[in-house]
Amino acid sequence: MSVFVNKDTRLLVQGITGQEGQFHARSCIEYGTKVVAGVTPGKGGQKMDDVPIYNSVKEARAASGANASMILVPPPFAADAIMEAADAGIELVVCITEGIPVMDMMRVKNYLATKTTRLIGPNCPGIMTPGECKIGIMPNTMGKPGHVGVVSRSGTLTYEAMHQLTQVGFGQTTCIGIGGDPINGTNFIDCLEAFEADPETKAIVMIGEIGGNAEEDACEWIKANTDKPVVGFVAGLTAPPGRRMGHAGAIVSGGKGTAEAKIEAMKNSGVHHCENLGKMGDLCKKVF
């Protein structure tokens, strides 16, 4: 079992003819993901390696039976690409693109509220069910099959967690990077709900960072809804207020979104807070 993606997932790639699109589509294929179609408007009828390209998502879905999409188009076109995928009835959209204007994402979220499509990202490394399916840009050497669910706002911290888990002998069911933007699709609680419902997932690692209150909400949910052990980490204790720490969503302003508040919320909800990221693997070994 796994969450959101598995060996049967049929992926199409929006922006497959771009440099990034080609590179990561190939990497997903190499990993074993079933990449069944690509979309680049105006290049319908061509192929990227053996993958047929279509002008629209609608057309691609009809021809290939794709049920998931990975978006690797430049920021000015990304909101449009997400909405096109949702309009075509794609069930899962993973948007890797970084730098989408907030106002665009606001319109996208309001549009998605009228659809059944699940969006992961944007500004994220994607999602991986080790050994089965990768939709995203994680290195193929990452992760191994197992029983820990990982959810994180940060890309490289997802890698760090997967690496340390693997080092201490824990494989993963599914690892999800939900992205570092202020407005994103799937949030912590969506992932936690899915991990809770998945019998194969026995434990959870949750990695947050400063900004917003998604971590606090997630902790409330954990307290009320799951008995699975959760190890949590929050990045940004030393971040100065008022500065965006790389991610558009990672900012402490007006005293809100501080690492301290999030850590406090973790401690109050029974989450095992990891103080030293370098020792996350050891802590998981102790807790799980």
């Binding site: 907030v102 490394p125 994680m138 960072e209 790389g246």
Partner: protein, 385 residues
């Protein structure tokens, strides 16, 4: 991207949001000339990207000719220290000179994107002119928040919620509604990430005027706002941060003694945290990004070395798209060119890590290798202690 008050007011005027008459001046004589033109009193306002200017002495009301000259002299060229500038303050290069207006009542109004509800929030209060965070903490009932969905845009009922919420007299509801509508449109059209007026005043003549104006535009949307891009003031930026951005590096200057080179924003923050836990303090946040090449790494190195308080450097890279061999080449390239004067601890993991480690080992450079993140932090902290 923040813009100056006078620039924000230019946008206000474009959207028919009333502002006082005002002009920008760089010299004392210019201030005097503008004051002659407007007539007394005038307000002289320092133009820097920081709040709390009034308390710091950067905003003064001149009632006489002598005061005009005096205040212009005081403010132009001063180093303004407010709670937002930090102790080092900001140098004032220009002022906005505005015609004085009579104030009957001070209101507060801001527009911000609300990440939880995915809507545009219009926040207002009758308690303008004060620190709004204090109002929110002490008397939250005096803050009115109206959420506007971007799919409908601002509707008359939103405007009524603002007007009734502010307990405005009937005759001011029409002009206030127009202001709310126009500000919402400005906010959306220009991809603002913050728009704030404190105070928005009711004058003695019962006009509503934006006495102050703050606008922050979403940096990711600047590609579609060439006019705002032109408003960028390089003097407001940290020179190292500005230079870093030209190389595609995300750099934030801090006060500590350990320079950090990291890929990924989350890992960069976590690296700063772990350096602190190990007993040292981070000198910077530096995310070289996923697609960094050897040149970018070299430039990152150079920028960190230009900070005299740096006593040691920690390189922490989890190779994904950024391959460890590319990183190692950048490190060797930089270290050879720049002649390292401080110890460098390297921790890398991920894509092509074996090749990367070999490049570093073969380089003959005096680098300290770390086996994992915890080890790296302890080693660099010991070296700078």
């Amino acid at each position: 991207m923040k813009i100056h008050e006078y620039q924000a007011k230019e946008l206000f005027r474009k959207y028919n949001v009333p502002t006082p008459n005002g002009k920008v001046a760089y010299k004392i004589e210019e201030v005097e000339k503008i004051a002659d033109e407007f007539g007394l009193p005038v307000v002289v306002k320092a133009q820097v990207h920081a709040g709390g200017r009034g308390k710091g002495g950067g905003v003064k009301l001149a009632k006489t000719k002598e005061e005009v000259t005096q205040f212009a002299d005081d403010i132009i060229g001063m180093t303004l220290v407010t709670k937002q500038t930090g102790a080092e303050g900001k140098k004032v290069n220009m002022v906005l000179v505005e015609q004085g207006v009579s104030i009957k009542k001070e209101l507060y109004l801001s527009v911000i994107p609300d990440r939880e509800t995915c809507s545009v929030a219009i926040v207002c209060s009758q308690d303008g002119g004060m620190d709004i965070e204090e109002v929110a903490a002490k008397t939250p009932e005096r803050i009115i928040t109206v959420h506007v969905s971007p799919t409908t845009g601002v509707q008359p009922f939103h405007m009524r919620q603002v007007c009734f919420g502010l307990e405005l007299p009937k005759e001011l509801m029409k002009p206030m509604s127009a202001i709310v509508k126009n500000l919402y449109n400005l906010f959306v059209d220009y991809d603002c990430s913050m728009l704030e007026i404190n105070p928005l005043i009711i004058t003695g003549e019962d006009n509503i005027i934006a006495l102050d104006a703050k606008i922050d535009v979403d940096g990711n949307a600047l590609y579609r706002h060439a006019d705002v891009k032109d408003m960028h003031d390089a003097d407001e930026e940290d020179p190292i941060e500005l230079e870093a951005s030209t190389f595609g590096l995300n750099y934030i200057n801090l006060e500590g003694n350990v320079g950090n080179i990291v890929n990924g924003a989350g890992l960069a923050m976590a690296t700063m945290d772990i350096v602190k836990q190990a007993g040292a303090s981070p000198a910077n946040f530096l995310d070289v990004g996923g697609g960094a090449n050897a040149e970018a790494i070299e430039n990152g190195f150079r920028l960190i070395m230009s900070d005299p308080s740096v006593k040691g450097i920690l390189i922490n890279v989890f190779g994904g798209i950024l391959r460890c061999d590319v990183l190692a080449q950048g490190v060797v390239q930089a270290a050879t060119k720049l002649k390292l004067s401080v110890p460098v601890v390297v921790r890398m993991e991920g894509t092509n890590v074996v090749e990367g480690r070999k490049i570093l080992a073969d380089s003959g450079l005096d680098l300290v290798n770390a086996v994992d993140l915890a080890d790296a932090a302890e080693k660099v902290a010991a070296l700078v202690a």
